[in-house]
Amino acid sequence: MIKSVLVLGSGAIKVAEAAEFDYSGSQALKAFREEGIGTVLMNPNVATIQTSKVLADRVYFLPLSPEFAELVIERERPDAIVCGFGGQTALSLCVELNDRGVLDRYGVEVLGTPIEGIRTALSRDRFRKAMEKAGIPMPPSVAARDPEGALEAALSMGFPVMVRVSFNLGGAGAFVAYSREELQSRIYKAFAQSSIKEVLVEKYLDGWKEVEFEVVRDAHGNKAAVVCMENVDPMGIHTGDSIVVAPCQTLTDEEYQWGRVLSMGVADAIGLVGEGNVQLAVNYGGPEQYVIETNPRMSRSSALASKASGYPLAYIAAKLALGYRLDEVVNQVTRRTVAAFEPSLDYIVVKHPRWENDRFGIREGLGPEMMSIGEVMGIGRTLEEAWQKAIRMLDIGEPGLVGGRMYQSASKERALEALRGREPYWPIYAARAMELGVTVDEIHSITKVDRFFLNAIKRVVDLYMALRSNGQREDLIEEALVLGFTRDQISEIIGNSNTSRMPAIKRIDTLAGEWEASTNYLYMSYGGEYDDVVPGTDFLVVGAGVFRIGVSVEFDWSTVNMALSLKRRGYRVAILNYNPETVSTDWDLVDRLYFDEISLERIVDIFVKEGGPTVILYAGGQIGQRLYTLLEQRGVRIGGTRARSVDVGESRNSFSAFLDELGIPQPEWYYAKDMGEAIKLAESMGYPVLVRPSYVLGGTYMAVAYNEAQLVDFLRRAAIVGERYPVVVSRYMPWGIEAEIDAVSDGRALVATPIEHVEPPGVHSGDSTMVLPPRKLTRSQLGKMLEITHVIARELEVKGPLNVQFIVADDVYVVEANLRVSRSMPLVSKATGVNYMDLVADVLTEERLKVDDDLVVLTPGRWWVKSPQFSWSRLRGAYPRLGPVMYSTGEVASFSSDFHDALLKSWLSATPNRIPRRNALVYTYDDAYKKDIEKVRSALGYLDVMDPESVGMDRLIDALKGGRIDIVITAGDTPDMDYRIRRISADTSTPLVLHPSLAMELAEAFRKGLKMHVEPW
């Protein structure tokens, strides 16, 4: 009998490991709790929903390393462990705990797929042998243990070859090599990404279709292939970077069933218990299919499949891991039918990735290594509707497949170049090319994308052109709506459309309407006329939308906690969001889930159809901010802070004037309308200056210029400056302390928590190391910060959350204020033990905070440190750097009674950080940091401290590639000098520290050593 179980999380959000594991872990915790089983969760990702006391009995914010896991096991003595809900991180950790004998020593049973099965699935070589034995076809391939072996295999097979990596994540290190040179230049990175130093050299199946089956299997061998998903991009592009449709669209029944048989064969061969996915290559011109790989665990695909189908894979997998039979578990959507079935979809979903390649300066096209940062899922009754919704959901400013800025600005040559280079967002270029006369067949021959999908794009383009020439025809307008154009977009194309047509509310019920469903998982579509539901919602909480740099699971935490806090107060709550990875899009959470676009038009639609619920815009972060005024003008009731106050916070001009009026200091800034003006302003202010263009070319939104040459260079290269596109030039203050305050106000009282940054101003707050309570700020500085925050809250009549950022130097300066939830609110809520969203719910439902004093400061009783997680190794070719632009993809936190211990536990929780044992490479090419870096060198004096000069660049590069450098510490932004050092460090997963302030604190922490003591939250 199992009484307690240890659940391993996936740690920080990184490319290829994102909020989907918060969703799957949360579902598993829920499933165990229902059975009366105690849960212990180990996950340093403080921003997640699973790390709240609502779901797990005990939470450990600790590095997911075998050492710490053993300490947790020793302390908690769980009966069992589950490995399948925390991504690759948890799976690898489980295998390691098993191999070190930890599980045996403490008598911990592995629930779900046995370790041997996991090992077979993860090792390319063992997997291939197991498949051979089971008679399951795989593409010709050879496993290699060193670069020479890989080359030999490629030569014997003939180029092009696909190189895949064992025990890795999101295709890390994988690539297609067309030549010997290409193989040799990239193979070291592939080996660096494999924890067991093994790669597979495989025949490259150019142009084949790629499909994936999600399979559930119980311990008795009962199976179901829950969802079939088809990649629009053919083989060779990582699934995570592919556009994916569900259900599979271009397979015949014979092909579908054969793929299903193979997938189930894989599940049997590895002894899967729970859920796994199987990827298949399907010949586009013949009957052959090959199994490519399997993930014997919950994955990004399984989160997508759950949302696509309404079948809660993680929840069911958890039940199956406990030994239940598939036909004993009840379908949570109908609550009447059993989980042993395969959902039938009466709609189409399109998953579309979002990339941030411009931000990182990545010029490479899509390939077998995942680079996307977030994803969205459009649901519709036509492929075109789902697809166009998805494009809008990406929030890249495109109104759909056609007509946006990216579309309009591309020439035929540019569009074709983008298609040849497999650039992100290629469908928009395909659409553009079609308008400019390129045929579907030509695009097919370039991209190998099935004509079925290209025809959908063509239909949208044809309709777009027809609308432009005979716009007012009613049948064309109706057709445009069904094909996923918005009313706004139609109006823009044809003048005023005046259509009164509203989309219908449709329910996702796993059985295509065959059985009555009791939950309300909804979407809206013009592919129907009748609503499935009647009005019945008090609050509509708007979620965070697509994840991108700066918007991640922390805003899902606030969305979910906002909704749950309102629900606990007895209100009927709906959520609007469209990110399939998230917990907020779990239809089980609140009364209704609208899985749809976050747009003016759609919120108005829901508001009208739901009979006027109060709309909550500030819980999802920035995405709701720009809708305040527009929604208010349309008569939508918005909860909390008023639109005019939000606008003051959002507009640089009015906020600045507001601060001046109140006599609150701010860093000096001005608008410049041309280059000359910018130069003059910078001179009068004194360098360095921070420049922020309002019209950005490429991905650099902001830069620091230390002299005129840098200023001119940046503005020429990265921005358009002019009367309509002014550039903001502000005084750059890279000294003093950066700090912020998270708070909730009811317009009168304020509950607040101050946070201090380890890095000085100049490093984006999302990339800095945060500590609370503050260490260095004086009492009077803190008092001033709190007073300013209070004044802002009162003057702007803030009725909800706010976050104010400060630079504390010779005075306390306000950098900005956001009248919404902030990235750090989950951290603050967990550190102080007070859920900030609960406070917001009080303000929303009772119009006041339930506090006695006007100012309540909440501070944690221990040191809490939050560290950023960067994904440099995944962002091919990007230069690892810190600056005013955010680059990190996630964050982790830990706590301790000692600051340095908390810092170390937190820093070690981010990959690939390790404590250096032998040596350190410490250098800078930036004179401004020379002195600080010198201090770091002496602080690390007990190690063999190197720099590029003393070692010599060639030897240094060799040492890095060979994994013989323990840590790289540097500062400044000097790609001309050290691009290779930083890039190879990233490629080889060598820990990188990019700021001396953090390096100094870490040096102290290394010296003190790690306290091997663990404590639950």
Binding site: E254, D327, S344, D532
Partner: protein
């Protein structure tokens, strides 16, 4: 522009495609996402207008190898979108195929709304056409009800046909057999003798008898119960699939009832409650089901649909009889239960050797 009218007076608008003629039939829906060529050629759909719940139908076109009979058997087709195909085997589009077979279709119907209506009301007679909806309703009223028409006669083979060279001969009583049932038997080395439904004696020269699937109300086939008893007398192993299962069950004392809106899907679980305890995902296409009074002797249920408890297969304690209400031959749908043919043939071969 056209309409789908239902006997309760509901009129849904849509766009007509396929053949330019009206159709009347019992409106039923399938939740199968793939396999429309198989579904549309399945003789069991004779007399019915088939609604696809998946909105995109026609994606991979049509090819000969996907046919379950010589042509389209449904009366009409309702989809949300009939799509332009893309597949290396496709020889024509859904629209072209319907035209060639003289079958009308209607698209852009709010099929989800229609399905919920059928679920709540039960299946209804309906008509597709571009006529005034009133005239469509009139056509429905004038046409015979589905339950009263003997469709089996229309789809059953008119003469005896033999396939294969195997030593074991299976006599298939063709009530509207799907080609894939014959294919599954041939694949396993059997010889198949297809006989007209009402000439069932001609099947008895074989080593075993299979009562096939087919359209319509099983109550109209009570004459076939005699065939079942004769086969039992001859000690011939018997297999019944779908309608065949219902016929065999009736012979063994079952009562037939009509399901409110049927089981038509490729995703339904069936639990083997007698042999293995396992759960299989299976294809279903039946509007009727059977239940046994306590007096039925020797009948054992081996397969059950766990959602609503429908009997999905029986066997007999003393006679070599096995049946399936679902479709072990799949096509379209999962191949999880094709082993049933192995099992049947093993029984037949054992009997033949003796």
């Amino acid at each position: 522009m056209g309409y789908l009218a239902l006997e309760d007076g509901t009129v849904l608008r849509g766009r007509l495609f396929g053949a330019d003629r009206p159709a009347v039939g019992e409106v039923v829906f399938t939740t199968a996402v793939v396999g429309y060529p198989q579904a549309l050629t399945d003789p069991s759909y004779k007399g019915q207008i088939l609604v696809f719940t998946h909105p995109l139908i026609g994606n991979y076109g049509v090819s000969e190898d996907q046919m379950e009979s010589d042509g389209i058997t449904v009366e009409g087709v309702v989809v949300f979108e009939n799509t332009r195909p893309s597949h290396y085997r496709s020889v024509m589009s859904l629209d072209e195929w319907l035209k060639a077979n003289g079958v009308p279709g209607i698209s852009r119907v709010d099929t989800r709304h229609l399905v919920i209506k059928l679920r709540e009301h039960g299946v209804m007679m309906g008509a597709i056409g571009n006529d005034d909806p009133e005239r469509l309703l009139e056509a429905i009223r004038r046409s015979p009800r589905y339950d009263e028409v003997d469709y089996v006669r229309a789809v059953s083979t008119r003469r005896v046909i033999e396939y294969g060279e195997g030593r074991t001969c299976i006599g298939v009583v063709d009530c509207g057999v799907k080609k894939s049932i014959v294919r599954e038997l041939l694949k396993r080395g059997a010889k198949v003798r297809l006989v007209p439904c009402l000439d069932w004696e001609k099947a008895f020269e074989c080593d075993a008898v299979l009562f096939s699937n087919g359209p319509g109300n099983p109550k109209l086939l009570s004459a076939l119960t005699e065939a079942v008893w004769t086969a039992v007398e001859y000690r011939l192993p018997i297999m019944g699939i779908c309608l065949g299962h219902q016929v065999v069950s009736m012979a063994l004392g079952a009562e037939v009832y009509k399901l409110k809106y049927g089981h038509r899907a490729t995703n339904k679980p069936v639990r083997d409650v007698a042999l293995t305890g396992k759960v299989y995902i299976t294809t279903h296409n039946h509007g009727y089901a059977v239940r046994f009074p306590n007096t039925a002797r020797g009948v054992r249920v081996w397969a059950v649909q766990p959602d609503d408890g429908t009997i999905e297969g029986i066997y007999h304690e003393r006679y070599p009889i096995i049946t399936a209400q679902f479709h072990p031959e799949a096509s379209p749908g999962p191949w999880d239960t094709r082993w049933l043919f192995d099992k049947f043939l093993k029984v037949v071969e054992r009997g033949r050797v003796q």
